[in-house]
Each structure stands twice: as C-alpha cells, then as structure tokens.
C-alpha cells in the first residue's frame, strides 16, 4: 500500500486484461459465498421478525372477546394469516411457531404454512403443513430427527391438540412388542388399511401431492373411508440444501385439551416432554 500510486498498471495491456478477468472471477466467488450466508443465516433474521409479527397479530386476535360457544372458526382465513401455534417439545421448550394459512413462498418466509383445502387442527382428515428446512427460520430443520410417538402440540384459540408421530416403517411389524409399551405411545399404533402406507417418516418425490390427501397416498379415498383418522402431516425439502425430494412426517391426534376459560394459562402436560 504505497501512497505514491502508479499511474498505469505494471506490465502490458494483456497482463491487465488477465488480471481484470481474474478479479471478476474472485468477485463472483465472493458474491456466491455471500449468497450462501444470506440463504442460511440472513433470511433467518428477516423471517424471525416476520414470525414475531404474525405471532403478536394472532395473540391480538385471540385476545378479542371469545365466542360464548367456544367454537373454532377457520373459514375465510386470508393467505398468510396465522391461525394456530405448533410446539414440538422434544426440540426444546422454546420451539414454537405460528402456523399461517397458505403455502406461497411469501407465506412460508413467515413460518410454517397450512395447505389450503386440507383439514384444520383437530378435524378428521389430514392437517398438512409445509415448512422450510434451511434458512427462513428453518422451522422444519430437524424434523428428520423426530421419533415415533414424539408429540407435536398444536394450539388453537380454544383447544390444544396433541398429535404424535406414527410408527416408522421399520417399527410397524413389531410395534406391539417394542415401542407400544412406551407411555408416550398411548394412542399410537400402526394404522390399518387404507392407512397402511402412512408411517411416521417418508421420503417422496416432489410430485407426490397425495401425501397431503385426507387418506395419504389415496386421493379421493376419503369418500369411501367411513370415519377418517385425524392426521397431521409435515412436509419439507430433502435432502437438506436440495429440493430433489420431500421429507414427510405423519402424525396422529391422540388427545384434545379444551382450554379452560377460567384458567387460560394452563398448559397441556405434553409440552413438558422436552427430553
């Protein structure tokens, strides 16, 4: 770094052209590195702010005078409007996300998004939610680590719904002899036909939209299945940093706790399953 700047680059014109091209390549490399930083870290910061806003908007709405009959209303939700919160206690007591209506790119930047036309929390059918795995708050970063029977707790205005991850494919055969004894597995067991392909974790191709059907894997079958199972399905990209496939987690509802209007701070015991 001399203060006496040369008036022209050393060497001939060819040398300065080569140097210029090299500098452009180095710059492009730095820009791509910066993009990775943006994608993995900076979008988290942007999304965290949006998620906080969505959560406080939802809290405001829940703070308005309650419907005397305490009936959940999910009709007429706008794209991007929050309507429920999800907790996965095994990911820590602070794992909490507001679930929004819709799965557009813009909505998923704010938090997990509900597939329109799928069931809502607690309803028979398939409550399907998509979430990012890398960046943008990465709500579903670790859902590949969910074990069978892990709780996914969904809070709505008047209820807590407890879903538990279904048996994984390799656990189905000997469920009764192995995991069924776990106290957390009460209410969880392999689902019979037509749900026999619905297991705790699956990897599918992006085109397999039937995983969010009311009877996953069998779109249209809901009309012939009498009473539908109350399922929850999480979808995210797989493998991490790629969108070649989709990671699917299916869970089944095992419990519903109605919120007590006289004791609004009461929490369901499942939220304490943080180990």
């Amino acid at each position: 770094m001399s203060t006496v700047a040369p008036t022209a680059p050393e060497g001939g014109g060819a040398r300065s052209v080569v140097r210029g091209v090299g500098e452009v390549f180095i710059t492009l490399g730095l820009v791509i590195l910066l993009f990775v930083v943006y994608e993995v870290y900076v979008t988290d910061i942007f999304s965290a702010a949006k998620q906080r806003e969505a959560t406080s908007a939802l809290d405001d709405r829940w703070g308005t005078p309650a419907d005397p009959e305490r009936v959940e209303r999910f009709d007429g939700l706008d794209e991007g409007a929050g309507f429920a919160k999800m907790f996965i206690p095994t990911f820590g007591a602070d794992y909490s996300f507001t679930i929004l209506e819709g799965i557009t790119e813009k909505t998923l930047e704010i938090g997990p998004g509900h597939y329109p036309d799928t069931a809502y929390p607690g309803e028979p059918g398939n409550f399907a939610v998509a979430g990012h795995r890398v960046g943008k708050g990465a709500p579903f970063n670790d859902i590949d680590l969910l074990n069978s029977c892990d709780a996914i707790v969904v809070e709505t205005r008047y209820n807590w719904f407890v879903y538990r991850v279904l048996p994984k494919a390799d656990e189905v055969a000997d469920w009764a002899g192995t995991r069924a004894a776990d106290p957390r597995c009460v209410g969880v067991s392999p689902l019979g036909a037509p749900y026999d392909k619905v297991v705790g974790q699956r990897i599918v191709s992006p085109g397999q939209g039937e995983v969010v059907a009311p009877v996953p894997g069998l779109p249209g079958a809901e009309n012939s299945v009498g009473e539908q199972v109350t399922l929850m399905t999480l979808t995210t990209c797989h493998p991490r940093f790629s969108d070649r496939e989709r990671l699917i987690v299916h869970a089944v509802m095992v419990k519903q706790w109605e919120k007590d209007p006289n004791n609004p701070g009461a929490l369901p015991p499942e939220l304490k399953e943080t180990v």
């Binding site: 900076v42 799965i103 790119e105 992006p206 969108d243």
Partner: protein
C-alpha cells in the same frame, strides 16, 4: 478493476480506506436487500411443498 478503483479514490490514505469500506458495505447491502431476495425465488433449491 480493484486497482483502478483504488487509484481513482480521492484524498489521503485514511480517507481512501474509509471510502473503500463504505463502497464494500454498499455493495453488500445492495446484494442482501435487493438482489438476493429478488433472485432467490427463481432458484429451485428450497421448495418444501408437494404438488
């Protein structure tokens, strides 16, 4: 390119360093707040939904 910019920055050494840092910060901000958010949805590696 960088040499050319450096030679054309005015003022003494300290001022040049400050200007260079500001220029870099400006470019980074432009990338982070304008270019990356614009280009990102066009890149197919963070799709999480099934169709």
């Amino acid at each position: 390119m960088y040499g050319w910019i450096w030679r054309h920055l005015p003022g003494p050494f300290a001022v040049r360093v400050l200007t260079a840092v500001l220029l870099i910060a400006g470019v980074v901000a432009l990338l982070m707040f304008v270019v990356f958010p614009w280009i990102e949805p066009k890149l197919p590696f963070n799709e999480v939904t099934t169709e």
